[in-house]
Amino acid sequence: MAYIAMTTGFVLILIGLFGALTNRNILRMIVAFTVANTGVNLVMVAVGYMHGRTAPILDEAVPVAEAVARIIDPVPQALVLTAIVIGVGVTALMLAYVYKLYETKRTLDISAFKDLKW
């Protein structure tokens, strides 16, 4: 199950990167990046669980002394959530940029914005 998720995740990442690097339309690039982000999140969910470990609740079943080896660290889960949130934030920011960029040149072609170079 985890492998399927992981493979799917990587496929999504690759599709996303491919899309972002081949589409000249800025909006399409952003969509491609969100696809790739979804892939990343999927991979994280798939890899973040370690076999044979238990939930991070410290009680009699899991003494503190052995906890490190026996529980799943809760931090990666928080990481996934945060990553999703940040992804949304970045996407929003990029969309705002697109709006402004379109206003300046009336085009969404990334190759039109080459005033700065060398």
């Binding site: 990442i13 996303g16 990167l17 972002a20 690097l21 000249r24 800025i26 690039m29 990046f33 790739a36 982000n37 990343v40 991979v43 994280m44 890899v47 973040g48 370690m50 470990r53 991070p56 906890a67 490190v68 080896a69 660290d73 809760p74 931090v75 990666p76 928080a78 990481l79 945060t82 990553a83 940040i86 992804g87 934030g89 970045v90 920011l93 990029m94 940029y97 697109v98 402004k100 960029l101 300046t104 990334i110 190759s111 914005f113 080459k114 005033d115 700065l116 170079k117 060398w118």
Partner: protein, 1041 residues
């Protein structure tokens, strides 16, 4: 102590608070932000204070009441405290700087700025990968926002490119993090480091992805077009933050991450870093936009620090000192330069000429450049010294070479920029008037100097800023408002006093050099009385040079020697740059000098074997396989100063274009520093063989060639000062030849040249300078017939050329006599032939000098000119007296040195009994010669006066001219292209081959920089592809290794 957590809390809290304020409360919002930033800075400062004074130790801060790995933790150690302080101060100062912009933009922009600063601190403080990711993203988003503060419309596209790149980085980072977690079961950095074997076994790729993501955040060359675009177009205050704050933070993150990777990943960091340092500096050569240039320079500096991070296993407990020194110097300088660029309207390098007339801003500019290049007394200097010594100790020679090459490129474009700013026609747009902005810049300057003081105190080698000569020199910065007369008197008094104070501790050799440099310097300074006004910038530069010289001759350890060497180089650079058209020449002087200094540094480093406290006496103990290389590096380094042929192309322009009283300083005195270095080197190391070739033999050839080429070139100059300058090359060639003979008399001859060349070259430069001042030209063929109008200058030149030509009875003959005696014992006879031929060639230019200026036909426009000003003539007359005295009793100066040299070359000492000086081969009695010549001359003169008493003075055109009158003085004065037939015969020797060689190298560098930088197409998508390609290439190289 306030918990470091509050740095983050205050930043975040204030940012949220801003969200609650009303839009109209601009001042309130601004005040809250400043208060928050100040508060954050104070907390960091408190920690720096506690940790640096040793009262506390690094603390871990846990969150959620639990220890890691169950919760996130932060750490506040000394490095973290210093970095957060630097980040917070950058944020605070940029906020002050942005006052007007922020009043326009309102609270939202302020909140983003707070978030940026807070997040950068977070990157430094956190010990957790999750947190690291979050803070990195916050910095990225905040960057996306702050880029838009700029008035530049293009910033929009740049910001978008930046976001695209950061998307790619995020993907790499997250995938890396999660796999690393999978391998180790923790996200805590220290936790991962403990089980790093797991990471490296199962998750080598995972670590690679994390590491490369952080490296990409450092904007590594060449996958960094997006970052350069941001640097170029963003508001300078934000570029300052991006370069100083987020750059530092990302570097620290890379350092933390390498804890996990362990030492096997260090070479990769070094490799990426050094490629970036050299590559970005190379590309910067072709830049014309100031901010983009600074961007390249940022990339380069961060590359250098990454390379240092990659070397931390061998730097030991000096790692923080070295990396920190370079990092903080970079942060302060780069922030300062970006802030400074905000005051300037135009965006070309030349637009910085608007700074002319603002001495304080120019001082700031110079300080920032010195900070970046790592010149003394700034932290980068101490850091670079220890770094290079440590690297050489481990035999990492290639890395040293690359670092020094990159640093040279950087110094090249930075000083070129500085020269343009100072010397080009002043840009029409004025410098922005804003007391806030200026205060920010001055704070950065103060911070830079403060860091210099601190790093000096922390260094193993002693604090340069506390060295009395340097303090004295820097003291003149404060005295700038005073008038020239007062400052000049102070300077002279200082030089003489220092000489008198140090007198008891000098050995005879040092005494000769000290007398020439300090007393000689004071004598030349007499000429400076004739300038009026305040002469801003002259005295700090001149005294810096003299301080360097004073410290050079007494230096006992290699560090002191090197620091003195660089000080005098910087001082003299600023001095030379003061000349009216000296911009290109000062630059080439600086580049050659720094290259020489770097060779000296490398030589010392090789010899030191990892000991930063290496003494000059230790050169004697350097063992065989290394010794010739050390010798070679040091010798070439010193020869850049003596302008040996091949390394001489800077000299003619630099000496000719310098101001009237500066030319004698840089010619008569400064050149001797190189000779002193060679003396020290030869005394310590003797002669060395490399692949069976005697190195001193090669130096003999170089000396002889310099003598020949210098003299020959001098004969063909039309410009009087250039003539004198080329003649210096020849004279130094003689001295080098003498030294390289490695026998008693050779050395004595070199010393004789030290004294003689100082006296007559200083005198001639002053006379010619006086004439040029009066006639308004330096072209000799425009002069002529000035003997009656400027008799004293004529006498000085007459005595000077007789002395220099070596004709008895004046002192130059002594040098020739010793030379002949010296060569009789040497086996290397072929180079000597060149010396033989260059002797008579000296007559060519000397006669030309005196004839075309003072003899021949007086021009109409010069009929009313007066003798040179009193203060120019006075030192000349003193020099005449000195020359006479030295001609009569050379023993006064030479006798003790002769005895001193005996400890190195016991054979060949001269006999000094009575009035006659004897050698193994011949004898020479200066006083007898003077009397015989004097008596004959006086009798004949009396006879002529007697028989010819009625001679009638006639006018200038009353000459035998086929019964006609000449047309005009210009057509009758035989002066232009004086030695045309000689050029026909030997002119092929004066082809500027060396100049062409160096020009070709420079052109090659520029052309390749200009061609290669087209890699940065400006297309955001291309940049993303380059980013991924960089990752793949690095990975392939890594696995291939």
């Amino acid at each position: 102590m306030v918990s470091a957590l509050y740095i983050l809390a205050v930043g975040l809290g204030a940012a949220f608070l801003l969200g609650l304020l009303r839009d109209e409360w601009r001042a309130g919002a601004y005040g809250v932000s400043l208060a928050a930033l100040a508060c954050m800075s104070l907390i960091s400062a408190g920690w720096v204070w506690v940790l640096a004074s040793g009262d506390g130790s690094a603390v871990d801060i846990t969150t959620a009441g639990t220890l890691p790995p169950y919760a996130i933790n932060l750490r506040m150690g000394l490095a973290e405290a210093v970095l957060t302080l630097s980040i917070n101060l950058t944020g605070l100062l940029s906020a002050v700087y942005l006052r007007d912009t922020m009043f326009n933009q309102g609270r939202r922009a302020l909140a983003v700025l707070l978030i940026f600063t807070m997040a950068a601190c977070g990157i430094v403080l956190t010990r957790d990968l999750f947190n690291l990711f979050v803070f990195f993203e916050l910095v990225a988003i905040a960057t996306g926002g702050l880029v838009l503060l700029s008035r530049d419309k293009r910033a929009l596209a740049a910001g978008f490119k930046y976001l695209v790149a950061s998307q790619v980085i995020t993907i790499l980072l997250l995938v890396g993090i999660i796999f690393a977690y999978h391998a180790t079961g923790t996200l805590n950095i220290d936790g991962m480091a403990e089980v790093s074997s797991l990471v490296l076994k199962g998750g080598g790729l995972a670590f690679f992805l994390m590491f490369i993501a952080i490296v990409l955040d450092l904007k590594p060359f060449p996958a960094n077009g997006w970052a350069l675009d941001v640097y170029e177009s963003a508001h300078p205050a934000f570029s300052a933050m991006l370069s100083a704050a987020s750059g530092s933070a990302a570097l620290f993150a890379a350092d933390k991450l390498l804890l996990i990777g362990g030492s096997t990943w260090l070479p990769l960091a070094t490799g990426i870093g050094i490629v970036g340092f050299v590559g970005a500096n190379l590309f910067a050569l072709a830049q014309r936009n100031d901010r983009r240039l600074l961007g390249y320079s940022s990339v380069a500096q961060i590359g250098l620090i990454l390379a240092v991070i990659g070397q931390r296993d061998l730097l030991g407990d000096r790692y923080l000192f070295i990396a920190g020194g370079i990092l903080l110097a970079h942060a302060v300088a780069k922030a300062g330069l970006y802030w400074l660029s905000g005051l300037i309207e135009g965006r070309t390098l030349t637009a910085w000429s608007a700074l002319q007339g603002h001495p304080i801003l120019i001082f700031a500019f110079a300080s920032f450049i010195a900070l970046l290049v790592g010149l003394p007394p700034f932290p980068g200097f101490y850091a670079k010294w220890e770094l290079v010594i440590a690297l050489a100790g481990e035999g990492r020679i290639a890395l040293i070479g690359l670092i020094l090459f990159g640093a040279l490129l950087e110094a090249g474009y930075l000083f070129r920029w500085f020269g343009r700013a100072l010397k080009r026609e002043r840009a029409p747009e004025p410098v922005a008037v804003s007391s806030f902005k200026r205060a920010v810049i001055l704070t950065a300057v103060a911070a830079g100097w403060g860091l210099g003081l601190i790093w000096g105190a922390l260094s193993l080698n002693g604090n340069l800023l506390l060295a009395v000569p340097l303090l004295f020199a820097f003291g003149f910065l404060v005295l700038e408002p005073l008038s020239v007369q007062i400052k000049n008197s102070l300077a002279i008094a200082g030089l003489v006093a220092w000489f008198v104070l140090s007198l008891p501790s000098y050995d005879p050799l040092q005494l000769i050099f000290a007398a020439v440099m300090l007393i000689g310097g004071a004598l030349i300074l007499l000429a400076s009385y004739q300038t009026q006004g305040r002469r801003i910038g002259f005295y700090p530069s001149a005294m810096l040079m003299y301080a360097g010289l004073a410290m050079l001759i007494v230096a006992e350890d290699a560090f002191g020697f090197f620091a003195a060497w660089e000080s005098l180089t910087i001082g003299s650079y600023f001095l030379i740059l003061r000349g009216q058209r000296s911009e290109p020449h000062a630059l080439s002087y600086m580049v050659f000098s720094l290259a020489g200094a770097f060779l000296i540094l490398a030589g010392f480093a090789l010899a030191a074997d990892g000991d930063p406290l290496f003494t000059l006496a230790g050169l004697k103990q350097v063992a065989a396989p290394l010794a010739p290389w050390v010798f070679l590096l040091l010798a070439i380094g010193f020869m850049t100063k003596t302008a040996a042929v091949g390394l001489h192309i800077w000299l003619p322009g630099a000496h000719a274009e310098a101001e009237t009283d500066v030319s004698p300083m840089v010619s008569g005195i400064l050149l001797k520093a190189g000779l002193f270095g060679l003396f020290v080197l030869f005394m310590a190391m003797g002669s060395q063989q490399l692949y069976g070739v005697e190195l001193t033999h090669i130096l003999l050839w170089i000396g002889a060639l310099s003598a020949l080429i210098g003299n020959l070139m001098a004969a063909f100059q039309e410009d009087a000062k250039r003539l004198l300058a080329y003649s210096s090359i020849g004279q130094m060639g003689y001295a080098l030849f003498g030294l390289a003979m490695m026998n008693h008399l050779g050395w004595l001859m070199a010393l004789m040249f030290v004294i003689n060349h100082y006296i007559y070259k200083s005198m001639l430069f002053l006379s010619v300078g006086g004439v040029a001042k009066r006639t308004g030209t330096r072209d000799m063929y425009r002069m002529g017939g000035l003997i009656t109008l400027m008799p004293l200058s004529f006498i000085a030149v007459l005595i000077g050329i007789i002395a220099m030509s070596g004709v008895p009875p004046l002192s130059g003959f002594g040098g020739r006599w010793i030379f002949y005696n010296a060569i009789l014992t040497t086996d290397s006879r072929l180079p000597m032939i060149l010396i033989f031929i260059s002797g008579p060639i000296a007559f060519l230019y000397l006669f030309r000098l005196i004839h075309t200026i003072f003899l021949g036909q007086l021009k109409d426009e010069h009929r009313r000119i007066k003798e040179a000003p009193f203060w120019l003539v006075l030192p000349q007359m003193i020099f005449v007296a000195c020359l006479m005295a030295f001609a009569l009793v050379p023993g006064l100066a030479l006798r003790r040195v002769d005895a001193y040299i005996s400890q190195f070359h016991p054979e060949g000492a001269l006999g000094w009994e009575g009035l006659t000086i004897t050698s193994a081969f011949g004898y020479w009695s200066p006083i007898s010669i003077m009397i015989v010549v004097g008596v004959i001359f006086a009798s004949l003169f009396a006879w002529l006066v007697f028989v010819n008493r009625k001679a009638q003075k006639v006018k200038q055109f009353n000459i035998v001219f086929a019964g006609e009158r000449p047309f005009r003085p210009e057509t009758t004065h035989f002066a232009w292209n004086f030695f045309a037939p000689y050029r026909k015969a030997l002119g092929f020797l004066t082809e500027p081959l060396v100049e062409r060689f160096w020009a070709a190298i420079v052109d090659l560098l520029h052309a390749s920089a200009d061609l290669l930088r087209r890699l940065y197409t400006g297309n955001g998508q291309t940049y993303a592809i380059q980013l991924l390609a960089f990752v793949v290439v690095v990975y392939l190289l890594r696995t291939g290794l």
